[in-house]
Structures are given as C-alpha cells and as structure tokens.
Symmetry: C2
Subunit: 177 residues, 2 copies
DNA sequence: GTCTATATCAAGATAGAC
DNA sequence: GTCTATCTTGATATAGAC
C-alpha cells in the first residue's frame, strides 16, 4: 500500500517553486537550472536538494501549481458566460500570451503523472468538457485546436500577416456545438 | 545586395544530413549532437565543421529536407482525392506517427527562416490552403487543429482511453467547408 | 538548512598539423 | 577532408562539515 504521491509542499518548497516560476517567466525555460534558481534564492544550488529530490520534482511542482491556476481561471471564465466556448478560448489564449514560458513548460514535454497533484490535469480539462455539453471527443478536438493555435502563435509559425483573430473565430464557429 | 541563402548542398553535406536524420529518427532529438553524429559517420566531430558552419545549420538543412518530403507527400495526398481534407489530414498524421522525432524537430522550436530553403515552408502549407478552396483563415484553423491533435498524441497528453480517431473525425467534420 | 568541494558528464566550437 | 588536442561552458547531483 505504498502510495507515492507528492506531499503537501512545505513553506520553503513553496518559496523555491515561486522563485522558479519567476525565473521561468522572466528568462525562459532554458534558464531554469538549479544554479540559476539558487542565485535567485540567495543560496547555493546543492541546498535545493534538501527540499526537493531532483529537478523533475521541481518542474512538476511548478507544473502542478500552474494547472491549479489555469483550472481556476477556466472555471471562472465559464461561470455565467453567455458564450462558454468563446469565453474559455479567450481565457486559454490569454493565459498563454501572458505566461508563454510557463505554457511551454506545461505542454512541450511529456508529463510524469505520478509526480503531479492527483486529479489536477482532469480539473483543468473539465471546463472544456462542460462547455461542450459533456461531448469528450469534441472537447478533445477543441483542445487540440486551441493548443495548436496557441503554440504555433508563440513559436511564430504563422506568416507575419496572418489574421489570427480571424483564424480563431473560424475555428471556434465551426467547432461550436 | 548580399543575398544570404543556403547553398545547394554538396554530396558530402547531404551524407551528413542523411546521417543526422537517421540519428534523430532512431535515437530522438536529444541524441543529435555533433559528437554523436560524427560517430555515425565514422569521423570526428570537428570534421563536420568543415562542411557545415554550426549546429543550427545542420538542423535547418535537415528541416528543409523534411519540409520537401512533407510537401511532396501532401501534394500526392491531395491529387485526385474525393475527400481532399480527409486525405491531407491522414497524410499529416501518418507522417508524424512514422517520424515522431523529425516532426518534433520541425515544430517544437522557432525557425530561422533565413536558414531554410526559400519558399519551402509555403510549399508544404499550400496543399492545405488548396483543400480549403483558398480560405487561408480556415486553413490556419485546420492546421492548428491537426498540429494540436498530432503533438498532443505524440506527447501522450490525451487520456489513455481517449478515442483519437473519433476526435479527429469530429474536428474534421466540423471544419470541412 | 546551508555551506564548500567535488564528481561526473556532455555539449559546441576552434587551432593548427597532416 | 580529417585528425588530435584543447578551450570553454554549464549542467545534475552527492558527500560531508557546520
């Protein structure tokens, strides 16, 4: 009955994760190293290992926290909106534009689900399912569309003169139930 | 009037890029280092720099070649199909499943367009525009959907029991003009 | 909880001989 | 076109003292 799940983080761990978040937001994903993070905290890199077992644990703590934040945003966007899908899409896109490096952290590598807060992925995905009246296949299609638009925009893959607002609208109008 | 564009590759450069492709396909993106590539070629890493100026040049030569291959595949899929969009989507998904690491190489970082073969990005995108009767906004929406489905599948982001064929169908049916 | 010192490894790239 | 030798950098992580 060994239930290996992330503990509730101590205050110090939360400080460390908060510093990691600032670091990623300000300097990008590649800047997230144990040394660099320690600099921000005013300590030496090896000290971090007294609080977190390794770098993956740090990343997953940050990812979990960001899922929590996204889930809250999406739930709020959904609440009492006349156009649930549109509101959700706007919240999704806005989050990624405000936190491009965090967005990449969450989406551009495979996840170790054992190291995430249990159920948090599902909680962040739930509002989309709800906005689509419980249609999970359609919700997955819309998620793929939203992620594709988002990451292609962040990575500068659309032509410079592309009208991305228009592309979002066309996609959402087509996919709306 | 200095027009800095990639030269036509010498035979040796093509050998090197071909070896890089095998390396990436068999061992993944992280395995692509100058040393590792040199091992495959039976030479030492510094020798590669006699043929290519740096690692970015190598990557972009490989990306250009892969765009060429994709463009040909997409054009063939489109030719004489009763369901152009469906045929294109199948070709897109199949390519990514057969060459997941190459697909990542092409999509998961920003491109230096100056280092790509001129016009190759557009050529690979053209079949999608054509399948959508020239509607560029819709073509971008469909591309985003296809990329999102593809990369989320490769990165194992959908639930294990998700019916991805169904999600693809729902998305394509909705977006079909 | 933090430190110093260190192990270990691997990366991109250059100089200069042959 | 390839070689050896080397520079430079930076990463994760551990041991053990304080």
């Amino acid at each position: 009955m060994t239930d290996e799940q992330p503990d509730v983080p101590s205050p110090r761990v939360r400080q460390i994760v908060a510093a990691a978040r600032e670091l990623v937001e300000e300097e990008g994903l590649d800047a997230l190293s144990m040394r660099h993070l320690a600099d921000r905290l005013g300590i030496r890199a090896p000290s971090i290992y007294k609080h977190l077992p390794d770098k993956r644990a740090l990343e997953h703590a940050l990812i979990s926290a960001t899922f929590e934040e996204q889930a809250a945003l999406f739930e709020a966007a959904l609440a009492g909106s006349a156009d649930p899908l549109g509101a959700l899409a706007t919240a999704y896109r806005d989050f990624a534009r405000r936190h491009p490096h965090l967005y990449r952290l969450m989406t551009q590598r495979s996840l170790d689900r054992d190291r995430l807060n249990p159920g948090i992925e599902e909680r962040a995905a739930q509002p989309m399912v709800q906005a689509l009246d419980g249609d999970r296949d359609l919700a997955r299609a819309v998620w793929a569309f939203a992620h594709g638009m988002t990451i292609l925009e962040l990575d500068n893959r659309f032509p410079a003169d592309a009208d991305l607002d228009a592309a979002w609208q066309r996609g959402l109008d087509a996919l709306r139930p």
